[in-house]
Each structure stands twice: as C-alpha cells, then as structure tokens.
Subunit: 184 residues, 2 copies
Amino acid sequence: MKITVVTGNAHKAAEVAAFFHGTAEITHIFLDLPEHRSDDVGEIARGKAGYAFEQLKRPLIVDDTGFFIDALNGFPGPYAAYVLNTIGNSGILKLMEGRENRSARFVTAIAFADENGVRVFKGTIKGWVAQAPRGEGGFGYDPIFETGEKTLAEIPLEEKSRISHRARALAAFHDWFVEKYRTP
Amino acid sequence: MKITVVTGNAHKAAEVAAFFHGTAEITHIFLDLPEHRSDDVGEIARGKAGYAFEQLKRPLIVDDTGFFIDALNGFPGPYAAYVLNTIGNSGILKLMEGRENRSARFVTAIAFADENGVRVFKGTIKGWVAQAPRGEGGFGYDPIFETGEKTLAEIPLEEKSRISHRARALAAFHDWFVEKYRTP
C-alpha cells in the first residue's frame, strides 16, 4: 500500500518513511489546505485530511501540532508556529513570569484518510515551561519545554525522536495500520 | 440587489444593513467556512468568500479582523480573538512592558463575492497600546487601544461606529458598490 504524506516539510515525510519501512510505501506532496479554526489539533488535522482526500483520492496523512500551556488557558495552542514567529520563546517566558503552574504539553494529531473516511491518532508529551531557555538542540519551543530533568533541546535527537509527541502519534497510527492491513 | 452577510454575529449583519439602507437588501446566514492560514486578513476574507460563493451562488460578503502590534511583529494579528480568549488584555500588556514603540492597528477586510469574482475592501485604524486598560465601553481590545487621547472603550459608541476599522471597510465597500450598481 502507498501512503501520501501531505506536508510542506520533506523531513516529516522522511520520518514517516522510516516508521513504515517495509510496511508501506511513502510518497510526499505539498498542498495548501484550508482549515476550520479549532482549539483541537485533531479536528484541524481531520478537516484538512478530508479536503486533501477530496482532491487526491488516495490514502494520505496530514498532521497538525499544538503547544498548550495550562496557566495561559491553552495558549499558544494550535497557533504555536505563528506565536513562535512573532513573540517567540521570550514572549512565552514573559507571560509565564510569576506563574506557579508551569504545566504544558505538545500534542500532534495525525489524520489518515482513505475511501473509508478519516481516522485521527494523537501523541502527547507532558512537561513544564522552563524558567529560562536551556540546550542547543531541537528547534521551536524545545529550549523552554522541560520533560523530566531536561528540556527537549538538551535531549539527544535519537532519544527525542522516540519520546516526542510526533513519534507517539506516528506509533499509534503505525500500530493501527499494521493491524488493519497485515497479510492474513 | 440582495447581499448575504455570512457571519455568526447578527449584530454585524445589522450594521451592514444600516450602511446599505435604501441601496441593497441585506440578509444574514451562518456558514462555518474553512480558511487558509495567512497573516493577511484580506487573504483570509478573500478565501472564505470564495468558499461561501461556491456554496451559495449569490452575492455575499465575509469579513475578517486582525489586531497588529508593531513591537510584537504583528502579534496577535489574525488570531486576535483566540489570543483575547487565552492570554487576554493582561497578557498583551505584559508582553508590552518596557516597550517604547507601542504602535498598533486594527484592520478589517470585507470580501465581496459575486459571479465576477471576489473583491476585498480594507479599513484600518491606527493607534497605540495603552499603558493600562481605560474605559467602560467597547469590547475585546478596546480598553487597551488608544487613538488620539482616548481608548476605543472611552469613545462613545456613535463616534466609534463612524471611525472604526470596520466602519471604514464598510464605507469603502459601500462607495464601490453604489458606483457600480447605481441606476444609470
């Protein structure tokens, strides 16, 4: 079976291909998909997968990721990328000044669409907003997101790519897919 | 001619009807429209008007509003409503602590779609982010947005509804519409 990864990011398609090596053939296409505004990345991914399937008519996945900080009512949520590009990590740390509750989580939703409809798989990683950025690795919010003792930017890439929200969503999708399409 | 206002907010439709009294008949419908992510409210409104016209096949308008703060790289921009519901005005003021450049603007884009395509009209009001909220009127960011000496929440509603970004976009659309569809 062939699965098309709809994304503007070739690294994401490569990551999916590594997960599905020997199980499915992964191809990659970029479509600028419209979305319904929602605080739920699962619903955003579901809607976009539906639009993509209308156009492509072949099995595909679309993903969406959010960063949710409890003390900020879920902000920046599904607008994580926009917020990073405007107020950045320094803006987030400013908003968190004096906050005792620093709980936060990343959530990735992967929506798989085929002729049977759309199915959504989520992966979450829970942690805390750090007091200051730490670590040289990673990107985006990684330097200010602690899980355990370390920030995501301090965790080696190999470990990060096993424990991340994105890896967990991919694993959930992979397990379902293998169960459903295994050779009888 | 009849124009359908696509909005979840009946007050908006009433405001349009007041502008077009004697010029066009205004009706009101709610559609949950998908959108392409963009920093430009004009492009967001244009896309949504196109989707709405595909469904309704009659002359219609869709609007979108953003709040852009220069010192925050345009944040909250098109996500003004989401940001207000999460970090709120207190979050904006926190992000603006110690900032000398407090320039900001509201922009409303009104997209009119008919069988000839989509045309976008923008209205802007420029001002500054106040040091603290002032005023009892208005809603949303009005108490922290100064134009002249007053915040939008200190300006009487009648005056606000003449000078606002929304009124300016509606006036631009109205002038174009009257010119185009006047009885010869």
